[in-house]
């Protein structure tokens, strides 16, 4: 194990997969020089046949991924910021998510759509959306939201090896976060959540960049004798419902921390699942700590105010624990 930055872990995973799978190609805007550093150096090793800059043409890019995958390649389509997925949304929503089904399984589509999502760096509304719920609702797309360098690497490998379309969303601006990463190659199966803390009093499910403030809140409460179980689903489709249900059945209390806008968020969905499946176990209302249906503002204090943070999580914890 060594400490690595998230972006380095991703870069190494990409490198390893490129080496391992000669049918793997990656294209996107400025991936040769790499804006975020995730694809840095790859073009020198693998050449422009396999790592290639595209024009700014998200519409054709997302569809090219479908065609190249259908024709036998394993494709990473790098979409930079998640908001640009809206620009290239047609082929993701109308083609990638449906083509295997519509052809009764004639093909599989091993595609990874890669981008960053979420706010926190004053990138303003058009660069800060957390749009995973929209992908989750498509039905035919797996959705991966790593929260640590290790998960980022292990889930990326799994995403690349998965024969289905995957949207891989790295938390924006968190590339510099450090964490332990195993030295050997490892894969984290899609659909397996991580239990980051054990606890008996309350369950928190936190997604992507929200895991950090949740961890802080959980550890803070631990010092006060409150046992919170913290679950990072890691992949939202498929969702490890069983681990979540098991925890909620044990604790009877649930908070979900999600950087999406509240309405139809991942938090809503997980809440609805538990409201159905863990009904008898619930001792308090399920709380969602989310973004309040707003475009993400530019100015730091405004932005800080709309994003879920430790304080808001703490407040939710108090509310849920105090509920009688």
């Amino acid at each position: 194990m060594a400490k690595k930055r998230m972006i380095q872990a991703i870069n190494e995973a990409l490198d390893g997969e490129m080496q391992r799978d000669h049918k793997l190609i990656l294209f996107g805007e400025d991936v040769e020089i790499s804006l975020f550093g995730d694809t840095k150096g790859l073009v020198d090793k693998y050449g422009t046949d396999r790592i290639r800059n595209t024009p700014i043409s998200e519409t054709v890019m997302s569809g090219m991924a479908v065609g190249a995958a259908a024709a036998g390649f394993n494709v990473i389509c790098h979409m930079m910021f998640g908001n640009f997925m809206y620009t290239g949304f047609d082929s993701i929503a109308n083609q990638a998510s449906k083509l295997r089904y519509m052809t009764a399984g004639q093909i599989s589509l091993p595609i990874v759509y890669m981008s960053v999502f979420g706010g926190g760096r004053s990138a303003a509304a058009q660069h800060s959306d957390a749009m995973h719920p929209m992908f989750m609702n498509l039905g035919g797309i797996k959705v991966v939201t790593p929260s640590s360098p290790m998960d980022a690497a292990g889930l990326l490998r799994a995403s690349i090896r998965d024969p289905n379309p995957v949207v891989y969303l790295q938390a924006a601006g968190r590339g510099g976060e450090l964490g332990e990463v195993p030295d050997e190659e490892f894969v984290i199966e899609l659909g397996k959540a991580a239990r980051l803390r054990n606890g008996e009093d309350l369950t928190i499910v936190a997604i992507g960049a929200m895991v950090r403030p949740a961890l802080r809140s959980v550890d803070f409460h631990a010092t006060k004798g409150v046992g919170i179980e913290l679950i990072d689903p890691r992949t939202l489709v498929p969702l490890d419902k069983e681990m979540i249900f098991k925890s909620v059945r044990k604790t009877g209390r649930l908070i979900i921390v999600d950087e999406a806008r509240d309405t139809c968020s991942a938090a809503s969905h997980i809440a609805s699942l538990c409201a159905e499946e863990c009904f008898s176990a619930l001792k308090a209302p399920i709380k969602r700590v989310t973004v309040n249906d707003i475009a993400i503002p530019y100015s730091p204090p405004l932005e800080k105010n709309v994003l879920p943070n430790e304080e808001r999580i703490n407040n939710a914890v108090s509310e849920v624990l105090e509920f009688v």
Binding site: G67, Q95, R100, T103, A104, Q106, N164
Partner: protein
């Protein structure tokens, strides 16, 4: 009509392929009217020379993608009549086991990426297939058929740009059939579609889309260009949709959008009739030879209908999500 020195056999093969499309679709027109088909059907009647001229250049390893009006491309590329028919009938024996229907017939084993319900949807997909062809370096090309209406989707510009930059073996075939649904082409389309290739330095040609030989030759040039590594070609084939945009349109449209004279004019330039005359006039076949082919196709279509009708509807058997993920 374009000159050629095709053998009698070659000519008859083209004839047969066009006629198969025609007969299948005449049947579907009837079926649609009689209410035998669950969804909408967009017929290709009048445009057969385009699909056949192009697809006769291709083998199973070449890719094609098509449109909502995609039966002709499916059949011309070697898709089986009965698998198409059963699909349009929504049966479990259909090429997509009833999941796709008329707008989504696809057979990847034949290089048929499929019809598409999204206008312009095939353009980016085919660009990607062309990228795969280039990287696999297996001598295959990728061809997309799309309409004059689809040419107004921005994705065409993006695809021309990137496929030219990357010199991808892609052939863009715009079938200008005079209408984008109910809008005459020139009311929604500025300039000539073929010219849209020029700013990118993409090769381009127009062709008489009712002349199967001319289409064949034009596609051959594009294919050679693609295989030489000279990149994509945009072909604009002028043709005409003899039937409605969608069967059943007469039942819901409140106005006429074209006059019968126009239709008649184009019917008199019907690609199959023209080709029939040409073969016979050139002595490459007798009327009776053509009748034998016609009969055989009629048998094929009837068998396909029977096959479809006798086939069960699909039943997900409690496993609804089958085929969503592998």
């Amino acid at each position: 009509m374009a000159d050629t020195n095709f053998s009698n056999e070659q000519m008859l093969k083209l004839y047969e392929s066009m006629l198969r499309i025609r007969k299948v679709e005449e049947q579907l027109a009837k079926d649609s009217k009689e209410g035998n088909i669950p969804g909408a059907v967009h017929l290709y009647i009048g445009q057969e020379a385009v699909a056949v001229g192009v697809c006769s250049q291709l083998s199973d390893k070449d890719w094609i993608a098509s449109t909502h009006r995609g039966h002709g491309h499916f059949l011309a590329k070697g898709g089986e009549t009965r698998l198409l028919m059963a699909e349009v009938y929504g049966r479990d024996t259909g090429i997509c086991r009833g999941r796709g229907g008329s707008m989504h017939v696809a057979d990847f084993s034949k290089g048929i990426i499929g019809a598409n319900g999204i206008v312009g949807g095939g353009i980016s997909i085919t660009t990607g297939a062309g990228l795969a062809s280039k990287l696999a370096n297996d001598g295959s090309v990728a061809v997309v058929f799309f309409g004059d209406g689809a040419a107004n989707q921005g994705v065409l510009a993006e695809a021309l740009n990137i496929s030219t930059l990357w010199q991808l073996p892609v052939i863009f075939i715009c079938e200008n059939n005079g209408f984008s649904e109910f809008s005459p082409t020139n009311t929604v389309t500025a300039g000539n579609i073929v010219d849209r290739a020029k700013p990118y330095g993409t090769a381009c040609e127009t062709v008489d889309g009712n002349d199967v030989i001319a289409v064949w030759q034009c596609a051959e040039r594009a294919k050679l260009r693609a295989l030489r590594g000279d990149g994509p070609t945009l072909i604009e084939a002028h043709t005409y949709r003899q039937r409605g945009h969608v069967e059943a349109e007469a039942t819901f449209l409140s106005k006429k959008y074209r006059d019968s004279q126009e239709i008649e004019n184009w019917v008199s330039k019907d690609p199959i009739t023209l080709f029939e005359k040409r073969i016979v006039d050139a002595g490459q076949a007798k009327i009776e030879d053509l009748q034998i082919i016609t009969k055989a196709i009629e048998v094929e279509v009837n068998e396909a209908i029977e096959f479809a009708e006798k086939s069960p509807y699909p039943d997900s058997g409690g496993n609804e999500q089958q085929y969503m993920f592998t």
